[in-house]
Symmetry: C2
Subunit: 104 residues, 2 copies
């Protein structure tokens, strides 16, 4: 089942600061140094957060000279939305379609 692929995506979204980073990037790309201004932690900490977001496919980064420009991968959020719709909806194939015999 493809939801195995989404666990790392939700893990990347399970941190308040990373959600804030996503929000910051929603109106357009920003360089790392600009994102860092919104937080109290160190530059390496941000670099690690960005790596988590990039590895999850939620954010992409391109180097422009000395700066890393990060931006949202919009399609990924569409995928997340349709996944949440699918996993929570009835009338689809899933693992347990037999009755629960134990529970009377």
């Amino acid at each position: 089942m493809k939801y195995f692929d989404f666990a790392p995506v939700f893990k990347a979204m399970s941190d308040e600061k990373r959600l804030k980073i996503i929000d910051l990037l929603s109106n357009g790309s920003l360089c790392a140094c600009k994102i860092l201004e919104h937080f109290d932690f160190s530059q390496p900490a941000l670099s690690q957060h960005m790596k988590v977001l990039v590895d999850a496919g939620l954010v992409s980064g391109v180097r422009v000279g000395n700066w890393m420009h990060y931006s949202l991968v919009k399609e990924k959020y569409e995928e997340v939305i349709s996944f949440v719709k699918q996993i929570s909806s009835e009338n689809k194939e899933h693992f347990c379609d037999e009755e629960c015999g134990k529970c009377k």
Copy 2:
């Protein structure tokens, strides 16, 4: 910003087994013992997973005699969907609406 409230929800969804539990419950409620049949881990491990899902508001549990009947809180998934839409969409108020001065 309300996305601070969603970090725990995504944390609950950041585990493959818990996503599988959500999928199992999508066609109707199941008792814990029936859910457990789909996994290799112990009964206490499942109990802890269910607690995470219930605490996040993704699943509700009611005791029926000896059994706990778990079911999805459908509205919560609608909330998650609209949150993902909102956080990834442009043209909304967010933290950083000034230009990135450093990045020329």
